[in-house]
């Protein structure tokens, strides 16, 4: 690619935490959602794990909160090019839910879906081993509705469209099934470090 005449970019320090093509959004946290933000009260929220699992199960708000707490502190990366450093999400590690339902050996992929009907596909391997959470806190407060509150999935090592807002459940499958943005041209996996933004990357 050629140099753009007269373009210097903003003053910057080298930041090894920034994946290729990303910029630091600083204090901003843009809202990127194609949907109307739902009015979903905590007492209406449920989280269901089914499909290829030994014991399908639905958790209520209180039941989910009774699981051992776990927090993610680190960075997040949106496919629209912003990254946000040093955020804290509080909730429960997804492993705690999966220990109960026990995914079947043939399960390879998951469709994560929201209470609104949004979907995202994920390889099972991206959700286990302390790499994914169901969260209801951002910083020291409750997760705002426009950012997915009362509860959302976060999978911070992938682009953030995989971190389904208003999470309703996970369905375990023996094949990969593209979700909402993946059907609209986004990459099936979405690893920011390999810049897997769009189908074909």
């Amino acid at each position: 690619m050629n140099v753009t005449r007269g373009f210097t970019g903003r003053p910057r320090v080298r930041n090894d935490g920034l994946p290729p093509g990303q910029y630091d959004a600083g204090d901003d946290w843009p809202v990127l959602s194609a949907e109307v933000t739902p009015d979903l009260a905590p007492e209406e929220w449920t989280f269901t794990v089914d499909g290829l699992v030994a014991e399908p199960r639905t958790w209520t708000w209180d039941e989910a909160h009774a699981l051992p707490p776990s927090a993610y502190e680190g960075d997040i990366h949106c496919v629209t090019s912003w990254s946000k450093f040093g955020v804290r999400f509080g909730g429960v590690s997804l492993d705690a839910f999966l220990d109960t339902v026990r995914p079947a050996p043939e399960a390879t992929h998951v469709v994560a879906f929201s209470h609104t009907g949004y979907t995202a596909n994920l390889p099972l391997a991206d959700l286990t081993g302390g790499r994914a959470w169901i969260v209801w806190e951002y910083g020291d407060g409750p997760l705002p509705a426009e950012h997915g509150g009362p509860a959302r999935l976060i999978v911070p090592h992938l682009y953030f469209w995989k971190s389904v807002k208003w999470i309703a459940g996970l369905r375990f499958l023996d094949h990969d099934e593209p979700g909402f943005w993946e059907q609209n041209g986004y990459h099936h996996r979405g690893n920011p470090w390999e810049e897997q933004r769009y189908s074909g990357d």
Binding site: G6, V36, G117, Y118, Y198
Partner: protein, 263 residues
Amino acid sequence: MTETTLSATDSTPSAGFTPPTRFAVPGRISVNNLTAATWQRATLTDVRRETPHAATFRFAVPDWEGHLPGQHLMLRLRAEDGYVAQRHYSIASPPDDTGHIELTLDHVDGGEVSGWFHTVAKPGDEVEVRGPLSGFFAWPGDRPALLVGAGSGVVPLMSMVRHHRARGLSLPLRLLVSARSPEELIYASEYGAETTPVFTRTAPEGVPVGRVSAAHVAALLADRPEGGWEAYVCGSNGFAEHASRLLVDAGQPVDRIRIERFG
């Protein structure tokens, strides 16, 4: 422009899992992924001032395969030290502007890309683009469209209005556009009977000042076409939240509202 790009389907075929809920509006088109994955050279040919803070940048992109009104692209600039900045921008021009695309950019305070465009760029400069991207916030001209935008959120909606005109489409299209003042109203000279402008700070003599209201939305929804409206909302997140709430409260189905927000 190829016919395959324009031939919209009502739903993306998906035999698989469908969540037991309402949204999940299917994609409108199959994005041509191979095209969208390729960076292309775009040559700036013209700059038109729209408002004190916004200008339209016209590019020649010889290999552009077309887009649907409402789609966006990714644009990148490279500094001499190899630093790359890339941003998403909505496409303002209609699909039939063969070999050319137009972007309308606000001059964002401290914006490194918009700053370059507004203070450095001149005809002859080259940038790179890839796209079109995302078939969701796209209107192929197949359904009555209710467009609600604020500020530069009107950009993808204007592509729809221009497409409607260029093709002489007869199906209903309405635009509700909010701006701070008449001077800040992007594309002011292009609007016709389909458009209702709303001014939040200063308005012309005799026009009330205020934000988009339930009354505005009710007036548009009262005029319900057969099959109902497909609503497209674009603007800042605050505006998108406000406008989408008004639409829902006025009876527009949640699954017939498509939103594009910017930070």
